[in-house]
Amino acid sequence: MALINYATREINVKIVYYGPGLGGKTTNLRWIYGKLDQNTKGKMITLATEMDRTLFFDFLPVDLGKVRGFQTRFHLYTVPGQVFYNASRRIILRGADGIIFVADSQRERREDNIDSLENLRDNLATFNLRLSDTPYVMQYNKRDLPNLMTVAEMEGLLNPERVLYFESVATQGIGVFDTLKEIAKMVIRKF
């Protein structure tokens, strides 16, 4: 949930990366962390297993600095994608001001994408929220790999509300900043 502290002149916004396991959520965050200046980024926290799979969440604070006197920060979180970590996913999703759904474009991940999106809707429902009432964008990741679904297929499968979508290759940073910039703007416009 966004925090606006007029006394200390601070604005905090929470953005959550959601999607199936191994879809590229953590890779998005690592790219952002690697590219931003020290002044702009805070410490990246990763709660992962020994096999480097997200166990609880990744966290990266991005500080825009003072905008009209308000210190403006975006708190970026990823959820664990693996199916059995749903309790962790629900905890992190709580209070999200904006969501980036990172879908895996490989044809063999078709069902995993559908299941994860369904899981997102179910988890939001536990907070009496609907996805359609939350700012969100789609990111179709791994567009550099073979055996891809077409964008039209992915749109048909995953994006019935026709929200904005981005094609990405998170390992190379393609589409990473564009996706984040857009969801951040969507959230800010709703204030």
Partner: protein
Amino acid sequence: MGSPVAKRAGNQRLNMLIDRIKLFESGFQAIKENIEKLLQQSDAKAVLLVDRDGNLITNAGETERVDLESFATLAAADFAATSQLAELIGEQQFHTLYHQGERDHLYFQALVRNIIIAVIFDQRTTLGLVRVRVKHAAETLSKILEDIFGGQEQAVPEEEPRIKDISKDIEDELDRLFG
């Protein structure tokens, strides 16, 4: 694929406003005074107030060597995870958490409105004293928080800027940062 593609395939409905915590000078000062009082009365190293989404609301004491943003995020996550544990054994939540270290220890107390007090303390005080002082402070702070957040949504004072008025500047800053 070429350059990254962003396409709008339809109009988005963004009717609902973002749910948010708004704090103004008077309420914030009341909170801050009570956090500082708790720090003195408990002989703790530091006291922090965070919400369950990981936002740091205020802090007092020796926090120079603590990464406050990380602390707030992990404290909120700690509380959230143990709340799930509580549910598994039939409890709604654990109201307090205690972590014992070699030198420094942590004591967390849940307040109303999804706010958490976090106390960092060492050998200068005892768990018993911290527990008692936090309990008293929690009662006062919970009343203050209910006064602030319990009623209707607060109106932004006349002299304060509307966030929607500065949203364009934030968007410009996002463009500058992310190209």
